[in-house]
């Protein structure tokens, strides 16, 4: 069963290099698990940004050099001198009693930066620690592996700490500030989603060696600048709910085969790259292919999915209520388009059986609106 699905996914991607899941695609997975187009593009490792750009809707996810510099500088500062600053924060702010601390850098293995080699090394080191015969307490940039839809995705947490209350803890080092004990909730949520993937991957690694899930804590340690300074502070973030949610969504991807089976056999998102990595596929043809796949656009996608501008243009063209976002959409349960809403409101369309109540509310609202001013909204 697996092999043909893998083959199909590879064919969907085509000539391009396979891309792994990253923080953004994991966020997209968590926020919009039901979108088939996203699921297929991510599962096949297609280059969403290149595809979206080729059909005329390039994503706008530039990252400012200032943000990158600041992020790197902060992480480096926290980890300087064997994580001296970090240890101070763990001991002072979180009031942890850490035993003798040993620090292990897993950034590369004997000069080899390949993901699979680093993963093997990480596995060896972490298992040794878990069994109690390792030295390490803090593991810098371990390489973890998460099977998503049967495919390994390599993930790299900033830091994993061992022996905080006898358990592994995932640490996220972020450069957004914690001001007076509070941080921007959207950013905390994004950081937590990322950390959840690490927790699941870490449990998977240990689980295969017969070590139970309780060895990895559901609580993550968020390390971020305190107030407006460059000095770090830390906070525990309870990630139980998000770990459960992500686990559930990952289990759904296991069934990606069912989605693939619904596609025509020759369908592919291949850009037909030439030697210079330039797409040779006619954009119209690619767009037609994309249109054959179901997508679930939500305005929220603009924050995390490369395909969002393309999907929005399609939703607009179809006069889909998705364009207006869930708040408006919820008011019209079971109706998909503005044409349908206006038709029912004007009494030009006959409501189906489950639309009767909605249609009555709509006609009432349209009458009220017509009373207010002549907008042509009522019959």
């Amino acid at each position: 069963m697996k092999a043909p699905v893998d083959g199909r996914l590879a064919a969907l991607r085509g000539s391009g290099k396979r891309l792994d899941y990253n923080a953004r695609s994991l966020a997209a997975l968590e926020n919009n698990p039901r979108c088939t187009l996203r699921a297929l593009l991510d599962a096949s490792g297609s280059n969403k940004a290149a595809i979206a750009a080729h059909v005329g809707h390039p994503p706008a996810f530039g990252q400012s050099v200032f943000a990158i510099t600041r992020g790197n500088a902060f992480e480096a500062m926290v980890k300087d001198n064997g994580c001296a600053e970090l240890l101070r924060v763990l001991r002072e702010t979180l009031e942890l009693t850490l035993p003798e601390v040993a620090y292990e850098d897993l950034n590369d293995v004997g000069g080899n930066g390949r993901s699979d080699k680093r993963y093997e090394r990480t596995e060896e080191v972490l298992l040794r620690a878990a069994r109690g015969d390792g030295e390490g307490t803090l593991f810098d940039h371990p390489m973890l592996r998460l099977l998503i839809g049967g495919h390994p995705a390599y993930l790299e947490p900033d830091l994993v700490a061992f022996r905080i209350d006898g358990r592994f803890h995932v640490m996220e080092i972020k450069s957004f500030p914690i001001i007076d004990g509070q941080a921007d909730p959207t950013q905390v949520r994004a950081a937590t989603t990322q950390a959840c993937a690490y927790i699941i991957a870490l449990r998977d690694l240990l689980g295969r060696a017969g070590i139970g899930a309780e060895a990895v804590s559901d609580t993550i340690v968020l390390v971020a600048p305190k107030d407006f300074t460059n000095r770090p502070t830390a906070a525990f973030v309870d990630a139980r709910k998000q770990v459960a949610a992500l686990t559930r969504q990952l289990s759904r991807i296991e069934r990606i085969g069912e989605l693939v089976d619904l596609l025509p056999d020759d369908l592919t998102f291949d850009l037909y790259l030439d030697e210079d990595e330039q797409p040779r596929r006619p954009p119209e043809e690619l767009a037609e292919t994309l249109d054959q796949v179901l997508k679930t656009y939500r305005p929220d996608c603009l924050n995390h999915c490369e395909m969002a501008f393309y999907c929005r243009s399609r939703a607009r063209a179809e006069a889909s209520l998705d364009v207006l976002g869930p708040v408006v959409r919820e008011q019209f349960g079971g109706i998909d388009t503005t044409t349908m809403v206006m038709g029912l409101a004007r009494g030009e369309l006959k409501p189906s059986e489950d639309q009767v109540e909605m249609a009555a509310a709509l006609r009432h609202a349209a009458r009220l609106r017509a009373e207010l001013e002549d907008l042509g909204g009522a019959a």
Binding site: G62, Q63, V65, A67, V323, T338, A365, L372
Partner: protein
């Protein structure tokens, strides 16, 4: 959201133009608002990059921080902005009316920012500045903590529904116009304006596309576009750093003016657009009850101003339990009042509440105007009953207290029964107040047969809740012994860094 507002958004999307959601502008617009467009450096913790500030389209002042990571330059910026903001605020601390307890300033400052991000940036700036010490090792000009305290006051006050001392322009526009795009996109000033007033010669579609293109419409802040950062800003800041390292005054002046020019190019389109939005909003008539809320703003402004005059302490970092409970109560009350006020003033908002089943209107089909009841105190009072026939999808329970925008002031009623018959509803209400003191209701105070009436729930008067004194707070609600939870001002005030030199 009600079916009616949702329908308005659908209409906007279908007709590709903004549709009015209200009859009135429910926010007061000062004749002399102070517009601030703050820009911050990406990735840094609230590091100001620039601000454009002024009370008229033609006299905007541009303040630029050449190296946002430099602490001294940040404070120079805060002091520069502080002087402008304080001069503006102080101009409202002149004219007072009333005597003694009732004495208050007759007008309040009003700060307008482009979007909710602008409010957050001012909140951060307020938090950064208000604890700064004006003496000692990290001394800052006096205006810096003063600016911090005032910004914090304005941001806190802005959380109260109906207040107009600090408002994001996008919020004001979206309150009055429904667009065919999502709430998220409505927070982009240029996208929102594309729907309401596209530039001459452009369709809404074209204007929307331009609005999302940072080269045509630079973002309204607080963040600048990443492309701009990488392509223009980073090299310009590097030039400035090199020039200041070399100590060449000419090169430094050149680098500084280059930077100013770059940032001006990013901020001026937004500046013009904010003023355009303000004149659009001025063309919408102000709601009658906005005056009442303005009174409340004047009271709050006067109270805070007087506190400042008697040597204010900066606002604490976190509320105490009692302070938080009291504040929450006030916010809830203000919200209920604001919603009722809007429905009272505005046919559109009333229709909106009707479509959501929270209000109703219709004609009186039965009336018992002479009904009298005996109260607990054994007096006979008029309690007329009227039955209203309405098509509204009413969701009000019996005994709900009602007020009516279509009856004389002071009219009060309560729901007695609600009966659905087919597609219509018959609501019987008892008139309980606003009929005068006589045994016979005054002329016109009781709805008559065939009269059209509208009712909505009475937000009611609520007594301010009583809380124990701070030394009598039970241990469950008192602050734990902590580093800086005890006093309003943290001990390390002066030493608290605001970014590093590097």
């Amino acid at each position: 959201m009600s079916t009616l507002s949702a329908l308005a958004h659908v209409q906007a999307m279908e007709s590709m133009r903004a549709v009015p959601l209200t009859e009135f502008r429910h926010r007061r617009l000062s004749s002399r608002p102070l517009v601030i467009i703050p820009l911050a450096m990406a990735g840094e913790a609230g590091a100001p990059l620039a601000a454009m500030v002024g009370t008229a389209r033609r006299n905007g002042t541009l303040l630029v921080v050449a190296q946002p990571r430099n602490r001294d330059q940040r404070f120079a910026f805060a002091a520069g902005l502080g002087r402008i903001v304080m001069e503006y605020i102080n101009s409202f601390r002149q004219d007072r009316s009333g005597e003694g307890e009732r004495s208050r300033y007759t007008d309040t400052p009003q700060i307008l920012v482009p979007n909710p991000g602008g409010v957050r940036t001012l909140a951060d700036l307020g938090r950064m500045c208000r604890f700064r010490a004006t003496t000692g090792p990290y001394a800052v000009p006096e205006v810096v903590p003063e600016l911090g305290m005032w910004l914090t006051f304005l941001v806190d006050r802005a959380e109260q529904a109906g207040s107009s001392v600090l408002l994001p322009v996008t919020g004001m526009l979206a309150e009055h116009w429904a667009t065919g795009q999502s709430t998220l996109e409505n927070q982009n000033l240029a996208s929102l304006m594309a729907w309401i007033a596209p530039p001459p010669g452009l369709s809404v579609e074209q204007a929307m596309a331009d609005a999302e293109n940072p080269d045509v419409c630079p973002p309204a802040g607080p963040s600048t576009s990443p492309e701009f950062d990488n392509r223009d800003l980073a090299p310009a800041i590097r030039n400035f750093d090199e020039a200041s390292a070399l100590g060449d005054p000419q090169a430094l002046a050149d680098a500084e003016s280059d930077l100013r020019e770059l940032i001006a190019g990013q901020i001026q389109p937004t500046w013009r657009m904010v003023w355009q939005a303000i004149s659009l909003l001025r063309s919408v008539p102000e709601a009658p009850r906005a005056a009442k809320r303005f009174e409340s703003d004047c009271r709050a402004f006067t109270a805070y101003s007087d506190y400042q005059d008697t040597g204010a302490l900066p606002q604490r970092k976190r509320d105490t339990a009692i302070g938080a409970a009291r504040r929450l109560g006030q916010l809830e009350h203000a919200l209920a009042e604001f919603e009722a006020d809007m429905a009272f003033d505005d046919r559109f908002v009333l229709a909106d509440r009707r479509s959501a089943g929270e209000a109703f209107a219709g004609t009186v089909v039965e009336a018992e105007p002479g009904r009298m009841v005996t109260t607990d105190k054994n007096s006979r009072v008029p309690r007329p009953l009227v039955t209203v026939l309405t098509e509204d999808p009413l969701r009000l329970a019996a005994d709900t207290k009602l007020i009516s925008p279509s009856m004389p002031t002071g009219h009060k009623a309560k729901v007695v029964s609600v009966r659905r018959v087919g597609g219509t509803t018959r609501v019987t209400v008892e008139i309980t107040g606003g009929m005068g003191r006589a045994r016979v209701p005054k002329q016109g105070t009781v709805p008559e047969l065939g009269q059209y009436v509208a009712y909505l729930p009475d937000p009611g008067w609520r007594p301010s809740p009583q809380f124990p004194a701070s030394d009598a707070t039970p241990w469950t609600h008192s602050a734990p012994d902590g580093n800086d939870t005890e006093s309003a001002v943290p001990e390390n005030t002066a030493a608290e860094e605001w970014g590093n030199e590097d």
